[in-house]
Amino acid sequence: MRNKVEIVLFIVFLSLFGLAYIIFPQREFSEMENDYLTLCPKFQWKDFIEGDFSRTFEEYTADQILGKDWLVKNQVLFRRGLGITLINGVYIGKDGYLIQDYQEPEDNFKQNLNYIREFAVRNPNVKMTMLVAPNVNQIYPELLPPFAETYSQKTVLEELEAQLSGSVQVVDVEPALEAHREEYIYYKTDHHWTSLGAYYAYAAFCEASGLTPLPIDKYDRQELPEPFYGSLYSKTPLYGQESDRVELFWNPEGIYRVSYPVAGQERDSMFVLEQADKKDKYTVFFGGNDPLVVINSNGANPEPVLIIKDSYANCLVPMLADQYREIHMIDLRYYHEDIDAYIEENKIKQVIFIHNIDFLSTDNNFLWLQS
């Protein structure tokens, strides 16, 4: 009896997952993971001999497993139940916050700063400014699980300021965010700041640059109707996780023309509302990261500005567009052309870097600044 029952359970379990590969259609893209999944490879002797077929096939069976998202969710629950609070590189913090781990940057941080400084030195007639965004662990260290420690971003920022002094004017927006720490300035489930957080950074940046920020009550603030479960939730999906809300700051007086030269598209708004139905609602800003976006507006300042940025900028640049009439926005992860030439061609007078500290510490695409 015991043997029979257990044998049947075992065989049914193996066959269920096995047959699922045959019965169910393959998923090409996982919304939850925001990534493409491996598909069943076609058999070729050449691939097999080199071991490529086996490797891809193993990725395929792991990626396309029946109920993957459900299994992962329960795995997180299991680990959480054991008392583990750092899962897939994300801390399960207090008050429903998921917080990305941040540790002492390695050598490529220094390398990144080198690229930026060399770039600034090569373009002496262009004003260089950098807006550095701290991450949530810096503003709210008390939200980390007890005894968990992340590396001080203040130390990193000081090193950055020292390395870039004389070539780039660094705007530290941390005090501004700190002053509003009681407000909803970072998402709980996503690694970005909220539009409100971005607004305070924008205001601080304007003050440091001698501009007048648009007062916050001049905006029409609109919340997206659907709840938002961001990238950190995708990494560490917890049952009963509090959701976020994405807010759009509309300037009723703003007029925009937004063009995407690489894709050959043009829009009249920086908010791409179709994205509000997708899982990753943060892509409502500009439709996600694009290699190059050019924004023309009725802003006051006519000098063309180049913004080199990561995704933290996506919800902040719409506000800057009310200051500058012509903004060119480049994402070095996807734009690999000569930047010096671009500056010359478009008569750029000012470059603004907008990056979060984690990105500056870990990304390796600043090498594209080299001439």
Binding site: N3, E6, I7, F17, G51, S54, Q75, E104, P145, S234
Partner: protein, 479 residues
Amino acid sequence: MLFSSTTFLFVFLPVILAVYFLCPKKGRNLVLLLGSLVFYGWEEPKYLPVMLITIFVNYILAMVCAFCRERGKENGAKAALVGTVAFSIGTLAFFKYSNFFLENFNTSIGTWTGHLVPLLELTLPLGISFYTFQTLSYTIDVYQGKVKVQKNPLNLAAYVCLFPQLIAGPIVRYQTVERELEERKESIAQFGTGVRRFVTGLGKKVLLANTAGFVFDSIIGMRDSQLSVGLYWIASIAFTFQIYFDFSGYSDMAIGLGRMFGFRFLENFNYPYIAKSITEFWRRWHISLSTWFRDYVYIPLGGNRKGKKREVFNLLLVWLLTGFWHGAAWNFILWGLYFFVLLMLERAGFKKVLERLPGWLAHIYALFFINLSWVIFSHDTMQELGLVIKRMFGAGGIPFWNSTSTYYLLSYFLVFLIMTAAATPVPRRLMLLWKRRLPKGNREKIFLAIEAAGLILVLLLSTGSLASDAYNPFLYFRF
């Protein structure tokens, strides 16, 4: 293909089980052989010929050996044996150790004479250390007349390639499965035992060993600003758990799979961490390897029958080889020597002292030195090993304890507690005790319900863990 992979669990295993049991008895060894070749070739098609040639050479030379024996030609038998040993050790040395020897030649004599030999950059054929030892045991046993020569090459190949034990042991000796190769009885009772054993092993490997491995990797990968003496000790304990659950879990899976197909492999681990001395530890750890060295190296060299000096030399050789067998690097040799020294000390009289100590103290002694041995084992460059040892004993200029240490200790406290229990026979005993207290009439039914639930839970959690490993959310939008 690892047992703990979705491809093995949900594609290979159901298919081979179905084909095997649908096939009439006569063809089952062939099914196993072909299945095992697919299993092996899946990972390393390039190195399939190396294994097949090894089998072929051993098959022929064992035949020669037996043939000469029958005719009373001692020298011929001996020559065949020497040929086999030379071939096997030569193959192993070439694939596993040639780079090690070349590197050391280059850094010593090479730098001195200014003549450097280019390295061979060979990848190690999967499981070569295991199958070489298995084929060796077969031919040596034939020579010594302990087993009959296997005339059917398919049966010999099926034995060597047998996928349950092919890539990570246990080292199954031919004599263990000699009879089962010719005639074995698969049964529901055996299969059921096999299922329980396999699932236990899967859980040990995927849920325990991988978690412990994660702790070890996280700490070893930390930046200096995060590290502390305490964290290094936590890492070493994590590795101690990882290697045991990984290896014994794999052996459990192998033994369980063997059972499903009607084979009874010998036990490979017997709760090694409950040992109260290093001598006892080695009677409980990787039994198939230590008995192999005992029977095929130590005893043939004379064991303890040729005087004290010779005995010490024999032991030294066995432990050097044991260390070197684990990998072609100095730290493994050091690891073998480390055990040689400890075992000699225990033999020289320290064991008597240990026996008089309270049990828990002897236990702490054994665990401390076992744990330290895994530190030597887990860092395969001498610089790294030196640094880690220095830091573990407070001479590395890092704080003794920090907040991150407390964080890791708290986070994994329950996990470590579960692992500690799982490394002892206590859970099994508690379960049996508890079973006896169930109401008599329904005892078997209730027990079955709970055991079956546990089985499914371990399978689900393990599958979940494998799915999580393949689960890589992308932080940024992908082009």
